[in-house]
Symmetry: C2
Subunit: 287 residues, 2 copies
């Protein structure tokens, strides 16, 4: 509606890209916006309403047609596994790549590499539904080159310094870690809250997140409708952002009843100033 497509987000962390939700037409949008879909190895599906996953079977089929061989991990509500299996079976298709299905349950870590942890948490929608939290791990301390020289610390000890250790010289003097290091750049985080009614308990879980994506299906006047349908309003999303003390708020998932989106911003900003509208094809920096 109004030229808006169903939900899909690509989250890039360093050189990795992750796909979060995959509504109908996601493949075509990825071509349009020059997303390198072959770099995606981990796909996260929040819930099984069609506007969040009806593009997935097509994407998985295209990977097969294009001869993908790299492993693919799919984190999704459990019933999706059987749906996909029936679809592949009906198409007489054998995927040429390993597809690892991980059924979401409760709150858990889903993915970890040396710099990043991705976890899921339950939200409050009409069907089982999860949000996803991307969190950079604590970064190593930053070494101050001239101080290292001044105290003649051997490079073999740098790794320990980065982790916070003090250095003890041969003579037994203690070179305190804080004399030769600086705080690292902050660990960034991104939370995707999927489709959810207002849920105050998220504020604790998402404390201090760098960028919070929260749905605002409705304007504030439709609060009752939002509640009854498991969705949120502008003011609710902004209140949560304020309570959680996040740095920035990104809103989206606007009902098709609204053609223009200006009011969404106008209603959020008095409650939480640093709010942006999620717009198709636009990249938002987590910083």
């Amino acid at each position: 509606m109004h030229e808006r497509h169903p939900t899909a987000q690509v989250v890039q962390v360093h050189d990795r890209i992750f796909l979060v939700d995959c509504g109908e037409g996601t493949q075509m949008q990825m071509s349009r916006f020059k997303i390198r879909r072959n770099k995606i190895s981990h796909i996260f599906i929040s819930h099984l309403h069609g506007d969040h996953y009806f593009g997935l079977a097509g994407l998985l089929s295209s990977y097969a047609l294009n001869g993908r061989t790299e492993d693919l991990w799919l984190y999704a509500p459990a019933p999706l596994q059987q749906i996909l299996e029936l679809q592949f079976q009906a198409a007489n298709a054998v995927l040429p790549y390993p597809l690892h299905f991980v059924a979401l349950q409760g709150e858990q870590d889903l993915y970890e590499d040396k710099r990043l942890v991705i976890s899921c948490f339950e939200v409050d929608h009409r069907v089982p539904c999860w949000g996803f939290l991307f969190r950079e791990k604590k970064k190593p301390l930053h070494l101050v080159g001239e101080k290292l020289k001044e105290y003649a610390i051997p490079s073999s000890f740098y790794r320990q310094l980065k982790e916070g250790a003090d250095y003890i010289t041969k003579e037994g003097f203690i070179i305190k870690n804080e004399w030769v290091t600086e705080a690292p750049s902050p660990s960034l985080s991104y939370a995707y809250c999927a489709d959810t009614a207002y849920m105050e308990s998220l504020a604790g879980k998402l404390k201090g997140v760098t960028l919070l994506y929260h749905e605002t299906t409705y304007l504030a006047a439709s609060q009752e409708k939002a509640f009854s349908r498991g969705h949120s309003t502008t003011v609710e999303a902004a209140s949560l952002a304020a309570k959680a003390g996040v740095k920035r708020l990104l809103i989206g998932h606007y009902s098709s009843r609204y053609e223009k989106l200006d009011e969404f911003l106008e209603e959020c900003r008095p409650v939480f100033r640093d709010t942006s509208l999620a717009i198709e094809g636009v990249t938002y920096l987590v910083s």
Copy 2:
């Protein structure tokens, strides 16, 4: 690929419109091309490869969201029923309209109204796959006004005249039907041959069809590949059109390996002159 979408066709017969196949993005294409989707009550799915049905669940969901209450008939390979049921179940969705699922099997009539019969027939693809034949019924004879007057035939007998009866006057004279009627306009027909390898036996079944849609996934040079993948080449489609003595041929379902389509026409026309390329958004008259 090359801005081409997966398969979907809308067939309009008098004031009814029918949807044949429903690849991913069909809904969006229908909006783009101003198709009145709410007028569709019968959907035909040829086979369960994703490029022919991955847009269906989205369309059925949209009908539900928009509060459709009219009956919908879905003619499709049997396994689709369970796939859709699981999808609705996972979405906790109850359709507000009756959805009648008719599993395709063999060759059979699927739909009939006073002017039209739609039937399916098996084609030869990698999974069970059907084509669809839309055939206008034999039309009533055309009455010639001045002749009716000349022979003073009462209007109460017109219906019988249209069906071919002779009229016998009170005096016992026989007014032969052919003196007061003319042949009706010809009954038109449209055949959709889905995805199929070349299948000579179709020529008999599709004898004299007005417009034949036949896939041409490949150019003639790739005949072996076409055969092994259950598809057809340009020359094969054109040969079938010639053998069946159809009036016109419409080709489509071009492999994404081909960017330009000129050669498809160039290869067909020496074999069957009245060939057209199926192009997105274009309407083809069956006449």
